[in-house]
Symmetry: C2
Subunit: 204 residues, 2 copies
């Protein structure tokens, strides 16, 4: 990899996992942050009408989990065999499901409806799902899978702030402490920390 760009909005969101795994592996990249007002003109020229995009020597890669898995396997942060890869994918898919339940919340424009939807998730879904996620991380030595650092941890650490912003679960860090612990573990990796210290600031 020589000429690498990560193209996204001025947010962590879906791109931060890509940025973090590149940074951890010492890969220099151009951190392109598109102002929202420029997006409509750009959208038709992207592979799926979506960001983030990873660009390597002009070739474009889309779809966040696919990208982070790809980079992870390239960098030796995947499984050591197909069975181990499955373990990562299984836990990642569970996490992505949990996370994407929040997307409906994010895009809901009717404020009353949004509040009702959030209450329903907070009552009937999130507590069990977050407790399960907390257990998974506890059972995996503070990681999302395989009891060690994999690409899934970068995906998780990159998106955790956005997830919290969307879910708005009071005391999530106190109730499910393994989540923030895993995020902080990734953010403390020396080259990740160095990247975050000099990156433009955004809350999520």
């Amino acid at each position: 990899m020589e000429n690498v760009k990560v193209i996204y909005f001025p947010l962590k969101g879906m791109a931060e996992g890509i940025r973090l795994i590149l940074a951890h592996n010492g890969q220099e990249f151009e951190d392109v942050r598109i102002p929202h007002e420029e997006w409509p003109a750009m959208k038709p020229n992207t592979p799926f009408g979506q960001l983030p995009i990873l660009e390597i020597n002009g070739k474009q890669y889309a779809q966040t989990s696919a990208i982070v898995r790809y980079l992870g396997r390239k960098y030796g942060l995947g499984g050591n065999n197909v069975d181990e890869d499955f373990e990562i994918d299984q836990n990642m898919e569970f996490f992505n499901d949990l996370r994407s339940k929040g997307s409906a919340l994010f895009y809901e424009k009717d404020e009353k409806r949004k509040a009702a939807l959030r209450e329903d998730l907070q009552k009937n879904y999130y507590p069990t799902a977050l407790a399960k996620l907390n257990d998974i991380i506890a059972q995996n030595n503070g990681h999302l899978a395989l009891g060690r650092l994999t690409w899934a941890d970068f995906m998780f650490a990159g998106i955790y702030d956005s997830m919290k912003y969307i879910m708005q679960i009071p005391d999530i860090d106190e109730k499910y402490p393994m989540l923030v612990e895993l995020q902080q573990k990734v953010l403390s990796l020396p080259r990740v920390k160095e990247f975050c210290d000099r990156a433009p600031k955004s809350d999520f």
Copy 2:
């Protein structure tokens, strides 16, 4: 693999892709179909409180895409390298996104709200996304990726009927003909056809 079970409801739904890829590869399996009324008692003893589950010699595997990817790679229906695996994953993730937009519809209990949500998706999201999916399949020689049969095709073929039922897009097969063509291509594979002919019937 010796003792293999696929455990799901009496539906195609999220399990059919697993059943089809096993059938295509000549793997005998017990096709366990749990009546809905038995599910609440069983749920707490499943890895994620969800079905489908694949069981191989007593070991349980969960999360549909992770399972089908795993079986695909085992059976030589993945990519030939990490870059090819990425191409499959990227297109699969796009398809899963498209498909999961429908889940909110499926679970919405308020009929008025459900109709409004469906109309919004039918107006603002599905046409572009389905046209894109149709293009992807056309550009890939009638497959979801790599211009050849991969595990992603089994995933797609297994879930297409459920997807149509949830989306309720009039004339979807006529408007986006590559979709049903891909489904039929998979369902015509000799061992897949043999499995479907003797499997319990369900509409989706």
